[in-house]
Amino acid sequence: MARVLIVAEHDGQALNASTAKCVSCARSFEPSAIDIAVLAGDGGAIATQAAALAGVTGVVRVDHPANEAALAAVAAPQVCELAADYTHVFGPSTTFGKDLMPRVAALLGVGQLSDIMSAESAWRFKRPIYAGNAIVTVEAPADRPLVATVRTASYQAAEASGNAPVREWSTDAKLPDHTRFIELRSDSGGGRPDLQTAARVVSGGRGVGSKENFDLIYRLADALDAAVGASRAAVDSGYAGNDLQVGQTGKIIAPNLYVAVGISGAIQHLTGIKDAGVIVAINTDSEAPLFEVADIGLVADLFEAVPQLIEALSG
């Protein structure tokens, strides 16, 4: 029977929703155990949140000063030790999981599967390749641990209705000190909803034209109580921070509503929004590829349409 270990993502205080999505992925193939490993400086509160996720059978709390910052080189040997009791070791396909899980796999001497979007069984999965232009079905052998990342946009977060036991564990391994955390710089979007979990997202592209004009995107987002996103061109041009980029190399998101303003719809952008509920596009170019995937398209100048829309929403 499959036994799944999920490596928790957190910010030192609270569990990231990506962990609850990994739980949903694991539940979909009905393993006999789903345990969550919480590596932290002091993981008490996080472990409690993890233990509450429906379907979770246990939480392993690994407190260590070296786990204060999430460094893959430090976490990987610990996860490898824990992995001995499991058939599957999962992490989210966020920058946290993408950094860590391949290192875990290589230390275990096995390959890794990236971006699971659905499970057909405990050993058979679908994942996107070529920026989502194709979906491949792969089978992993059951004779070695399967290390994988879960495409978070493909799963709903498991609800918090359980109460699994928490145990403490510590490592005997010597943890490397060749990698040191210096600082984290984030401008956390001025109290707006988080891009990765928001129900609504408003994104701006190169068409917005300047950092000053990008204020229009923020105002529309506020009128919709939405998170803000951006295309690569908008980020590269300095209109928005890198943490707002949506797409193949940015964030893959699945809001109920996605409003794309002044974004052409390059394949690398579209791959980030395939799972959105309703896509709205506002663009002057009626041939923009974004209109091919948009549920509602408006061919219009954003500098006229967006203020009108803000007005209509606030009225």
């Binding site: 993408k98 290192r103 796999a105 990236s114 232009n133 210096i182 990765q196 395939k274 509602i296």
Partner: protein, 252 residues
Amino acid sequence: MTVINTILVPLKRVVDANVRVRVKPDGSGMALDGVKMSINPFDEIALEEALRIRERGEAGEIVVASIGAQACTQQLRGGLAMGADRALLVEVEQDLEPLTVARTLMALVHRENSQLVIMGKQAIDGDNNQTGQMLAALWGRPQATFTSHLSFGNGAATAMREVDVGMEVIEVDLPAVVTTDLRLNEPRYTKLPDILKAKKKPLETLTLADLDVEPEVQFRVLGVEPPAQRPRGVKVQDVAELVRALRRKELI
């Protein structure tokens, strides 16, 4: 000042980022006949960074390496034209999984006595985003993934990493593996004289056996299918109609 003797830069030959690839009708793979092939964009950024490090006097030699079919010499020559000193082709017919690629790169690191590997965070064909992390694990060395700024001092590198919540700064001792994000730099264009000069630079061909690497296949591909298509939407005439449509869908 930190001076790195040899920087290894792996270059993967991939379908050009501007090509819209499609699944073959029989689901056996991608229709790739005759499509334009390029250096993986993240690897081009990796090479540009290595060149800049050398131009600052912080590195000696830059070796580019490709693992794949004979045709990869095109991308290696492209790398030499950009400014790399030497090229290595590890010739192999089949596609390799990231773990085997990482093992091959590990062997090259030892062979070339390289102290720094700069590589792409992700190959845009398989979208795996694994190889650099695996190489760092096999090597027992640090990894600075998704890097958008890199500097050196006192035998260590300082990397700014693009992470989901913003920018993370870490310091890693050398030797190390760095993987690149899009905003690390903008790769230079090569000029015709450079292309001609590149033809005279050394390009050595090796096999996996030369490097003592056994290719290992763990994941069996059962089929490839096109992604689900979104149903075609509607165009609205003005903002008022847009607002009505959103209300109908109970989104506002």
